[in-house]
Amino acid sequence: MDISAFVLFWAAIFTSNILLTNFLGMCSYLSVSREIESSFGLGVAVIFVLTVTSALNWLVYHYILLPFDIVYLQYIVFIIVIAAFVQFLELLIERYAPALYYTLGIFLPLITVNCAIFGVSLFMIIRNYNFLQSIAFGAGSGIGWLLAILLLAGIRRKLKEKMVPQGLRGAGISLIITGIMAMGFIGFSGIVQIQ
């Protein structure tokens, strides 16, 4: 792919937002967006994990999976790498930044099962990104995810006092809002295509 890493970075945030365009990472997005503070904490952790795991998985794919011809095992291997990294990150933060651990820490295990993480790794393989492009894509996707969850958290905070029909409360109205936001983000799509 011939797009510069810089352009990929911005595209991943706006025109190809991992959550609003590709609808990945919905689970924790829907449940954690109940509180703005937790959303911010989780979003920051996701950015970090996405950036590093994209890099790690790219290296594993090109230096282990390809040479040894076990590309078909990429699903399992990517997930294992993500889980291991998240665990490692938790230990690191607990040791060197205990204050950060207490504010962020609970959300790290939650990230392992975020399908956006896995999705980004798969996308970079399918679209054949090089190393720099992968990192840019990972970081941008993370920021895009943070943006989406903060937007939803803000809207849900405003919705708290409003009358939402009983059947739509919770996941129902959140998905409708997400759909409307996605339509809004389609407005960015003319700027650059990366898929």
């Binding site: 076990i70 095992l73 291991a84 490692f88 607990e94 040791r95 204050a99």
Partner: protein, 367 residues
């Protein structure tokens, strides 16, 4: 074909094992803090394994900093001075510490993790707090909702305390309750008994520990507790004494009176026991017997809502109006109060109006 499958499986396992190995090494290296030194009050130095909270590290060394919430960071009872080595102030500590405390290096022992050499300062009295194993020796039903339980220390242990102090009892799992809780109760027996203590325990609505004590505890059961805690005890002067306590607040007063019976005293003492009705009175005969033992001791039960059928002929209403007759020289009188904050503030107000010095009014407040 089969070769490829086997080699791929081997490769997969290799990748998994490498990652697992990296994780184990990371865990060992990152979570292992090795041995660290804890310097206490500039005098004692302990060498301990790092990685735990200061509260747990010290309790493993048989030094018990008080904690009401079990180390969850909710109560602030475990405040202590950390001179160095405590790391940065954690967001979980901030809400419970004042600005002066923070600048004075006061931290919450249950939140501070011991990761490197650390120097702390704790009051000397904490060294006297120990963990005790005991068995239930006797259970007495004092009233419909109050029991007196005697715990005999096992393994030749002995406890050293001042009459008026309390212990923290550990309840055991029972029925659907799977965990233990820790609750504070005043010691109601005299300190001269070094191998046993008595606690007076009242059934609390929906209470975990009191329900365990009232419905499940039997003679012979094993029970653990830590103590002694508290700075409520009799001051050694010759001033007159007013005791005011009702319900389970009688416990520390009973301990003090039994201790005085042992050592002897000529001080003038009056004990006002406030209760609702006749069925809330207990140990009345024991108190009346003490009136005969001491030169000048009077036991004054006061009922606020006596039931007509009980034919109560003693004093009624609140205790405060009856203080007047018991006070000889307000400047030479001490008061010892044990009970709810409401009772304590009401009684303190009345005593000050009668002329007592505020710093001669000692209290053990429930809340």
């Amino acid at each position: 074909m089969i070769n490829k499958i086997l080699s791929d499986i081997a490769l997969m396992s290799a990748i998994g094992s490498v990652l697992a190995l990296i994780m184990v090494i990371a865990q060992r290296w990152l979570s292992n803090y090795g041995e660290v030194k804890v310097n206490i009050n500039g005098k004692r130095e302990l060498t301990v394994k790092g990685g735990n909270s200061l509260l747990n590290t010290l309790s493993d060394q048989q030094i018990f900093i008080p904690s009401a919430c079990g180390g969850r960071g909710s109560c602030g009872a475990c405040k202590c001075k950390v001179e160095s080595g405590g790391g940065p102030l954690l967001p979980t500590e901030r809400p419970l510490l004042s600005k002066e405390e923070i600048s004075g290096n006061i931290r919450l022992a249950c939140q501070v993790k011991v990761k490197s050499d650390i120097a702390i300062e704790i009051p000397e009295s904490i060294f006297n707090i120990r963990r005790f194993n005991s068995v239930v020796e006797e259970i007495i039903d004092y009233t419909y909702d109050i029991k007196g339980i005697t715990f005999k220390l096992t393994d030749g242990q002995s406890i050293d305390f001042k009459a008026g102090q309390y212990v923290q009892l550990e309840s055991q799992p029972y029925e659907k309750i799977k965990n233990k809780v820790v609750r504070a109760y005043s010691i109601s027996s005299k300190p001269e008994y070094k191998d046993r203590i008595q606690l007076i325990i009242r059934q609390v609505p929906d209470g975990i520990c009191s329900t365990w004590v009232h419905k499940h505890l039997k003679v012979g059961d094993k029970v653990n507790f830590t103590g002694p805690y508290g700075d409520f005890y009799l001051r050694d002067t010759d001033a007159d004494i007013l005791f005011v306590a009702g319900g389970s607040g009688k416990a520390p007063i009973k301990a003090i009176l039994e201790h005085l019976k042992e050592v002897g005293t000529t001080r003038k003492m009056t004990y006002f026991f406030g209760a609702r009705s006749l069925r809330d009175l207990y140990l009345t005969e024991d108190m009346q017997a003490l009136e005969k033992v001491f030169d000048q001791f009077e036991y004054v039960p006061v009922l606020s809502h006596p039931v007509a059928e009980e034919h109560w002929e003693g004093k009624t209403g609140f205790v405060m109006p009856y203080f007047k007759d018991a006070i000889r020289d307000p400047k030479h009188t001490e008061a010892y109060l044990c009970g709810s904050p409401g009772m304590i503030s009401a009684v303190t107000k009345a005593l000050k109006e009668y002329g007592l010095d505020e710093d001669k009014i000692y209290y053990d407040s429930f809340g």
